[in-house]
């Protein structure tokens, strides 16, 4: 039984925490929220690139470190903990995973080295409006190498230079690759609940595009990408939940009411114990997801859904009750509680809402039992 990360992976984690506690954290998120020039922290992005994090999961043949997914999970937890305002998830969990999953040798050779080098910011564009997308709901159209349609919202769509877009191709759906820096693409930045991360509406008018993977495989492919992203997002959720709990614990120890630390009141103690339980459940499911992702196990779809469902629940609970633990101070802009509360909502929606994943979890359980 060795259901834990290796010592190397743990020291990567320590290194990441040290780096991010200096360079990222709520303060960095605030700089972006308060509307700096860019919609992400460019210095942090460069720093992350220099540390080689953008190449952790990318094969050495394509300019990466070829370490693997467990290392990426470790980084995801720390980036989640640091509410990092960079397009890391869009570029690595979605874009790079999709390219590695279905990209041609040429596409991989062209794109992955740029990702590893920090020159390419990628994003994934599925949503076209209110509600969970379905194969039938997708309107964007790809034919003869040209893409038309509207995608809204696209996480990091405002800063990405490449997008993977789910679009109709003939009778089916395909995933197509688009360079966003071309005449046929219009971007409109969007105000969101998490202003520390960029979002945009992307309009494609006869934009040049190429397919990633086989025609008509778009839906299955994007589901496969979402499963991989789900595990990695779950680690960000665990990291964020942990940060909320630690913040609440520290405050509960130091804040006095009725001449006692509020952490000595059972209402607060048990609230924090509930956070701990939720995080332990989420973390353990995330570890299972990490194992399945790193070994490309048949359990991945099931494990990913479990990791995502419990990660979303844990972060929602911890970020909400962290505000409550802080009382009035927790509802001020200057205290960081709301930054986690906002990020929790983004992470819960980024790869599809919790109810969608709970339904997926049960469907996959039925399939597993049927098999």
């Amino acid at each position: 039984m060795n259901f834990d990360f290796s010592d190397d992976q743990k020291s990567l984690k320590d290194q990441a925490r040290k780096f991010l506690s200096e360079k990222a954290g709520p303060a960095a998120a605030r700089r972006v929220m308060n509307g700096g020039a860019a919609s992400y922290d460019e210095a942090l992005w460069r720093g992350v690139a220099e540390l080689g994090w953008l190449g952790v999961s990318i094969p050495e043949a394509h300019g990466g470190l070829g370490l693997g997914r467990l290392e990426l999970c470790v980084l995801a937890e720390e980036l989640g903990r640091a509410v990092a305002p960079i397009p890391f998830s869009s570029t690595l969990y979605f874009f790079a995973e999709a390219v590695m999953l279905a990209g041609s040798e040429a596409q991989q050779a062209a794109l992955l080295p740029k990702v590893a080098g920090g020159e390419l910011i990628g994003c994934m564009a599925i949503s076209e409006g209110p509600g969970a997308p379905t194969p039938a709901s997708i309107q964007a159209k790809f034919e003869n190498g040209v893409l038309n349609g509207v995608k809204i919202p696209v996480t990091d769509g405002d800063c990405a230079n490449h997008a993977l877009v789910l679009a109709r191709e003939g009778a089916g759906l395909s995933l197509v690759l688009v360079d966003l820096n071309q005449a046929g693409v219009a971007r409109t930045p969007l105000d969101t609940l998490d202003p520390a991360r960029g979002h945009a509406k992307l309009e494609f008018k006869n934009a040049t595009a190429e397919r990633l993977g086989a025609p008509g495989q778009g839906w299955d492919l994007s589901e496969a990408v979402l499963d991989r992203a789900a595990v990695l997002l779950a680690f960000e959720q665990v990291g964020g939940s942990q940060a909320c709990m630690e913040m609440a614990v520290e405050y509960a120890k130091s804040r006095y009411a009725f001449s006692r630390p509020i952490g000595s009141f059972q209402a607060i103690k048990h609230k924090l114990a509930d956070m701990y339980v939720a995080i332990e459940v989420a973390r353990s499911n995330a570890y299972y997801g990490a194992w399945a992702l790193s070994t490309d196990a048949a359990e991945l779809p099931f494990a990913a859904a479990a990791a995502r469902a419990s990660g979303s629940d844990a972060y929602a609970f911890c970020s909400k009750e962290n505000i409550q633990t802080h009382g009035g101070m927790g509802f001020t802009w200057e205290v960081d509680c709301h930054i986690y509360f906002r990020r929790a909502k983004l992470l819960a929606l980024q790869a599809g809402a919790p109810a969608v994943w709970k339904e997926k979890l049960v469907k996959r359980l039925e399939q597993r039992n049927a098999a």
Binding site: I126, I323, G330, F341, L346, A355
Partner: protein
């Protein structure tokens, strides 16, 4: 058992209705409301104007004694008036706290000359009042306020900070809870004053809230002079005075906040279910949740009718009305969250122009965490229910018999 007014109540309701129709516009779409159409300055002017008319028509201070310019009617009548007023676009908010909590405290504790000076003007809307109790270090435990007042001849000199003050920036006066004696137990060293918000040394700053809004203020006091005649109650009796104010707060029974089950039900008709089959309203999981919201919202509504019945029979409701906020704040968050998650990733968009319908759910989702805290946290309200309604013992007190200045503060 019925929902009807008594003949007297019906007559009063008709009068109120007639006055309101003659004075105000019926409630219209959000965008047409005065609060949206007018500048803050204009809105305040309209509010004062409306309050003057209410006073002239005898609909201000409905429950106040006649000698205070009130109407001397039981509380049920002011609830009836608010019910009717609620159907109109009434600029009444700026007076809610002053006339609901502050001035009644003045009436209860001030001497005749002081009452003559303040009460009538407040009732006619010429002067607006705010309440200055909470401090950064004294929220749930407001009796540990440390804003200091020191006697200096016939004046008191005040230094310190209050927080979460509604309307401080447009108020003329406030009732201020301060520490006048740190050498006795915390409840025994407090004193209440009337403070002139325009006095030198009073500085009002808006609070930037977690939801982005700026609805509350911090108020800083630097060597602010308050004449001793502005004292409410004896020195050291401030806590007893504050309890009267807070009692009145409880009588201002809170209504619903933001979208509730009817709004999300309408919304659910127009959006797909998370499983991709049919609309959200057809989704069985959503329907079970919807039923729980309906039961709580209707139950709370009916509980208020029971409270009104008690009032109508001349009884005064106790702390049981605390249940309202516990139910509503959490339901508001739950409903807002469900609507946002039903939108899937699109739910992250927070842009009233792009998604006006969704906007209301985003607003209440982001405001709800504050509502769980404002005016008593969930935890404090549950303690109140447990202790004052169910008669359970208090939490162990760490401050018994200890002078305020010697209490542990963790700092």
């Amino acid at each position: 058992m019925d929902f009807n007014d008594t003949p007297e109540e019906a007559k009063f309701r008709a009068e109120a209705r007639a006055f309101l129709e003659a004075t105000l516009q019926p409630k219209s779409s959000d965008s047409d409301r005065l609060i949206r159409k007018l500048t803050p300055k204009e809105y305040l002017k309209a509010a004062k104007e409306y309050q003057r008319k209410k006073a002239e028509a005898g609909f201000a201070g409905i429950t106040w004694a006649k000698e205070q310019g009130g109407r001397g009617l039981p509380p049920i009548y002011s609830i009836i008036f608010s019910q009717e007023e609620g159907k109109f676009d009434a600029p009444a908010a700026p007076f809610a706290i002053g006339l609901g909590m502050c001035v009644p405290t003045v009436i209860a504790f001030a001497d005749e000359p002081t009452k003559d000076r303040y009460v009538a003007k407040a009732l006619r809307g010429e002067e607006i009042w705010c309440q200055l109790f909470s401090e950064p270090g004294a929220g749930s435990d407001v009796a540990s306020s440390k804003t200091r007042a020191v006697k200096d001849g016939d004046d008191w000199i005040v230094n310190g900070q209050k927080v979460w003050t509604t309307g401080a920036h447009f108020c003329d006066f406030g009732i201020l809870l301060v520490r006048t004696n740190p050498d006795v137990e915390k409840h025994k060293g407090l004193t209440m004053f009337i403070v002139d918000m325009k006095a030198p040394g009073v500085e009002v700053r808006q609070i930037h809230q977690a939801n982005g809004g700026r609805d509350f203020n911090e108020v800083y006091f630097t060597d602010v002079r308050i004449p001793d005649k502005n004292r409410l109650g004896e020195p050291g009796q401030g806590w007893g005075v504050a309890l009267v104010t807070l009692m009145n707060e409880r009588l201002a029974v809170g209504g619903s906040y933001g979208p509730d089950y009817p709004e999300i039900m309408d919304f659910a008709r127009t959006i797909g279910s998370p499983t991709g089959e049919g609309t959200l309203l057809q989704d069985k999981a959503f329907r079970q949740k919807l039923a729980d919201w309906v039961v709580r919202a209707e139950g709370y509504k009916m509980a208020r009718f029971r409270t009104m019945t008690a009032l109508s029979k001349g009884q005064t409701p106790g702390p049981e009305s605390s249940i309202g906020k516990v139910i509503n704040a959490n339901q508001m968050m739950d409903i807002g969250n469900s609507a946002i998650e039903a939108l899937d990733l699109y739910g992250i968009i927070n842009d009233g122009d792009l998604a006006p319908r969704e906007g209301a759910f985003h607003q209440s989702y982001m405001f709800a965490p504050g509502l769980r805290i404002a005016g008593g946290t969930d935890e404090i309200l549950k303690n109140i229910i447990a202790e004052r309604v169910l008669g359970l013992p208090q939490d162990p007190r760490a401050d018994k018999g200890i002078a305020f200045k010697d209490l542990p503060t963790g700092r």
